[in-house]
Amino acid sequence: MTPIDELVVSETAKRDRCLSDQRRWSMLQAAINWADQQQSFPRNSPRACRLNEERLLRSSHFEKISE
């Protein structure tokens, strides 16, 4: 690792140590919500749910499972 890489790792680790678990969890959920807002349509919408459900039902998750 270069000195800059090491600094990035140590700075990130220091910041993480300074965050309470509760603050970190709240920031993670806020980041998820922010990322979701950048999508063309939100994940918590009928359209996204239908697409997600169709993708999962078509995937190898379910190819060995039948009702």
Binding site: W25, N44, C49, E53, F62
Partner: protein, 161 residues
């Protein structure tokens, strides 16, 4: 907006037998990954499906076989969870996927025995799919569907223990 604590609390309050799986389980137990929904695997019994429906009503969940027929789950027949093996729903606390079956894993009861009861940082209790079962789940998928970063991380955790 996603509020995973509210989803888990509601499932707990309605005594739903569930195991948290997928990206949110990995995020809570290991390290942050970008995941937009909460995935749960429920014990697929009549009584538990009934409790799950009650939780979904409390969460103001909506689902439909198509976008045109999307509506509150209160409008569906009593045993609507029997319709298919998974449901991707909208709720007032964010998107929720309910699985009745999960490929690559033994029975729900066997996985429940290996699962751990954990708490989110906000203090909400949840039942977490074990690391071994998370890995088994990934290996059951086609290679193209696998989450390689999760596999690498879980394998490194296994080696250390």
């Amino acid at each position: 907006m996603l509020n995973a604590d509210h989803i888990l609390e509601t499932l707990n309050n309605c005594s739903v037998d569930y195991i948290l799986i997928g990206g949110m389980n990995f995020l809570l137990r290991h390290k942050p990954v970008l995941t937009f929904d909460v995935d749960i695997w429920i014990d697929d019994t009549d009584a538990n499906r009934q409790r799950c429906t009650e939780a979904l009503v409390a969460l103001e969940a909506e689902w439909g076989p198509s976008e045109d027929t999307w509506a509150s789950v209160t409008k569906l027949e009593a045993d609507w969870l029997m319709r298919q093996v998974l449901f991707s729903l909208t709720t007032s606390a964010g998107p929720l996927d309910v699985f009745r079956r999960v490929a690559g894993l033994p029975s729900w009861q066997e996985c429940r025995q290996r699962a751990e009861i954990c708490k989110t940082a906000a203090g909400t209790q949840y039942c977490s799919l074990s690391d071994d079962d998370m890995l088994a789940c990934q290996f059951a998928l086609r290679e193209s569907d696998r989450k390689l970063d999760r596999i690498r991380h879980l394998e490194s955790v296994q080696k250390k223990s």
